[in-house]
């Protein structure tokens, strides 16, 4: 039927929803980032790019980027590698695979805020299990390691409250919490590799497990890896709950754990500075957008085999 408007009824609902719950809020956040708006005010002043200038000049935000990137570049490689390793090990099991899957996936399902409290106890400098365990090693060959000897001499690190250790400790918890998720994605990827490719590799003379991995497993996991890396990046950029649980005031020792999400929360919600909060959000959106586009490009260009 030429001239029919029926198509509007098909695409209309999707477009309306997308505009209402995605595009409009992004637009509003973008607009707010150029103002000094506070929640409850009836009006706001246009401040131009002042908010953005602040983000890229003030030391607080320098620390914010530092903490975020430290966290991201520790957590992403480790969760991806550990996820792949765990998936390969579990995939090679004939029994108990489901048990291990459940164990490694538990941290993903657990509420991180509750787990953070447990970790806080574990890392406690005097009553925590971690330093208590380390102290037991004092007086043994472990003291040959300078760092260990220094710990025995004085005290082992205050993991969560020492600014040299805090971000790495939080990153460690992020790895612990995150790699089970990647493991599940990799397991799905592994099951979709056709068995005959391994048969072909055997016939072609692949002798060792490493050769089979190089020839079949790793390339066939290419699309999974691109997805896993992207989702890990986005998830690590989004880290918030551990930071909020450990350091409800101000982002850790000397703001060394002042990650982006926490900065948005602190500025926009706690201090009611919507303008600067929106500006950080837009920068954050930029990162995530860049990663997503990179992923699409990689999937289409490099790993789309069929």
């Amino acid at each position: 039927m030429p001239g029919s408007r029926a198509y509007l009824w098909f695409i209309g609902p999707a477009i309306i929803l997308m505009v209402l719950i995605l595009l409009l809020p992004i637009g509003i956040a973008g607009a707010l980032s150029f103002t000094d708006y506070s929640l409850g005010n009836t009006s706001a002043n246009f401040v131009g790019t002042e908010n953005y200038e602040r983000i890229f000049t003030r030391t607080t935000y320098e620390k914010m980027f530092g903490a975020t990137f430290r966290y991201v570049f520790v957590v992403v490689p480790l969760t991806v590698l550990l996820g792949l390793g765990a998936a390969l090990l579990i995939h090679s099991l004939t029994r108990f695979g489901d048990l291990y899957k459940t164990i490694y996936f538990l941290p993903v399902m657990a509420a991180l805020i509750a787990m953070a409290i447990v970790w806080e106890f574990a890392f406690h400098p005097t009553i925590g299990i971690i330093n208590a365990t380390l102290e037991r090693g004092c007086g043994t060959w472990l003291e040959a390691w300078d760092w260990y000897a220094a710990g025995c001499d004085r005290t082992f690190p205050l993991w969560l409250t020492d600014r040299d250790y805090a971000i790495w400790t939080v990153a460690f918890i992020g790895v612990w919490q995150g790699f089970g998720f990647n493991m599940v994605l990799y397991l799905a990827g592994l099951t979709s590799i056709p068995r005959t490719l391994y048969d072909a590799a055997d016939m072609d003379g692949a002798q060792s497990g490493w050769e089979r991995f190089r020839l079949v497993t790793w390339p066939m996991l290419g699309p999974t890896t691109v997805f896993v890396v992207t989702i890990s990046f986005i998830r690590s950029f989004q880290v918030f709950d551990t930071v909020e649980a450990f350091y409800p005031q101000g982002g850790g020792p000397s703001k060394s754990v002042y990650v982006m999400m926490f900065a948005i929360y602190e500025k926009a919600i706690q201090q009611n500075l919507m303008g600067i909060g929106a500006a950080i959000t837009v920068v954050f959106l930029g990162f995530v957008m860049f990663l997503t586009i990179l992923q699409r490009w990689l999937v289409e260009r490099r790993t789309h085999y069929v």
Partner: protein, 378 residues
């Protein structure tokens, strides 16, 4: 060139026996087909020969070497898979290069990027080998493409190329044509036979399509329920099936099975009509197999039936004739010209070429009939 001997091969998956004591000898340079319905164990047998699966019992010998416990990589066999199993991330040339690299290059030469620099001469030699094989298969134009960009037939050729490139002891093929369309399949049949003649290498070919077995092989083994029912030249398997099951499986359209009996004097009769006076067999009920081409329309023939269906193939016409007292219609072959003017539901009479009937006992095994005494009974 070495002959392959499988002896006493048994294999079970859990409680289900898949192969029950298979003995098979493949002479060097022969084209041997393992044919049977799905689930008969033919693919498992091939995988045991390849080394991809371990047999529970029995031995695999290639030449004078016992390879039962040898890894697939060390048996120097090549396999073409039903799904082709080409590495999708590699080009056709790289796919064909893979078996050469894994076998002939050291660790350094296999490294990506720097490998070709370390072992330059080697790489050039292997490349030449790939190009030579590609020329044989006429796939030079496809060398730089990835499997995803190829059609089914081209993928088939690339998979063949990967198998051929390193001159294996034997080619193992697991239903390589079943993913192709009908016309291409017939074409590839001829091409594979031609390839076998040229390479003079042993081919072990698994298929469920009896037509492929009949048209291509030097020897065919008909398998059912984990056993080889008959092993011999295709013409012989077709013209003298060892059992009722083989007779039913080989040939298309399928052979007609009619109930019959041997009477006290050794005379063979089918559905009460005497066919042969003296078969020198004891009195017993038998099944008589008659192929469609051995039934002829004959106004004076002993059998009578109604045409239920006709399949005109142009060169031949197959009539499905319902005989009173039989469940399934009998199929007979004729020429379209002979049948001009004969319509459905018409009654026809026909006779059988008595020299060509197959007689099977109650246990399903072929009964040796004293041929010379058979005379056509009109």
């Amino acid at each position: 060139m070495s002959k392959i001997v499988l002896s006493g091969i048994g294999k079970s998956f859990g409680d289900t026996p898949v192969l029950r004591g298979i003995d098979l000898t493949v002479e060097a340079g022969q084209f041997v087909t393992l044919v049977g319905p799905s689930g008969c164990g033919k693919s498992t047998l091939l995988r045991i020969l390849a080394g991809l699966e371990a047999a529970d019992t029995g031995t695999v010998m290639i030449g004078d070497a016992d390879v039962t416990r040898t890894r697939p990589a060390d048996r120097n066999l090549a396999m073409v898979f039903q799904s082709y199993a080409l590495y999708p991330h590699l080009t056709v040339a790289e796919n064909m290069m893979t078996p050469l690299k894994l076998r002939d290059l050291g660790l350094a030469g296999r490294l990506p990027v720097v490998g070709p620099i370390f072992a330059r001469a080697e790489h050039l030699r292997l490349k030449k080998q790939v190009n030579r094989t590609a020329a044989t298969l006429k796939i030079e134009a496809l060398l730089d493409r990835k499997p995803g960009q190829l059609s089914g037939g081209q993928r088939q050729r690339a998979a063949l190329g990967r198998a051929m490139v390193r001159n294996p002891v034997a080619f193992l093929m697991d239903e390589p044509l079943s993913n192709l369309d009908a016309a291409l399949r017939v074409h590839m049949r001829a091409e594979l036979s031609e390839l076998h003649r040229r390479l003079q290498t042993t081919f072990v070919y698994v298929t469920h399509d009896q037509a492929e077995a009949l048209t291509m092989s030097d020897q065919m083994a008909v398998m059912m329920n984990g056993q080889i029912l008959q092993y011999g030249r295709p013409a012989h398997v077709y013209s003298a099936p060892a059992s009722l099951e083989v007779a039913k499986f080989v040939g298309s359209p399928a052979i007609n099975i009619l109930p019959g009996e041997i009477n006290g004097t050794g005379g063979l009769s089918v559905m009460g009509k005497a066919l042969a006076p003296d078969t020198q067999l004891a009195r017993q009920p038998v099944s008589v197999g008659i192929r469609p081409e051995h039934l002829t329309l004959d106004p004076d023939g002993p059998f009578k039936g109604v045409i239920r269906h006709r399949e005109n193939l142009g060169s031949d016409i197959f009539l499905h004739v319902q005989i009173a007292g039989l469940e399934r219609p009998v199929i007979l072959r004729s020429h379209p010209k002979v049948l001009a003017g004969t319509g459905l539901e018409e009654e026809v009479t026909f006779s059988a070429l008595v020299d060509e009937v197959h007689v099977f006992g109650a246990d399903g095994l072929r009964l040796r009939v004293a041929r010379p005494s058979l005379v056509e009974v009109a």
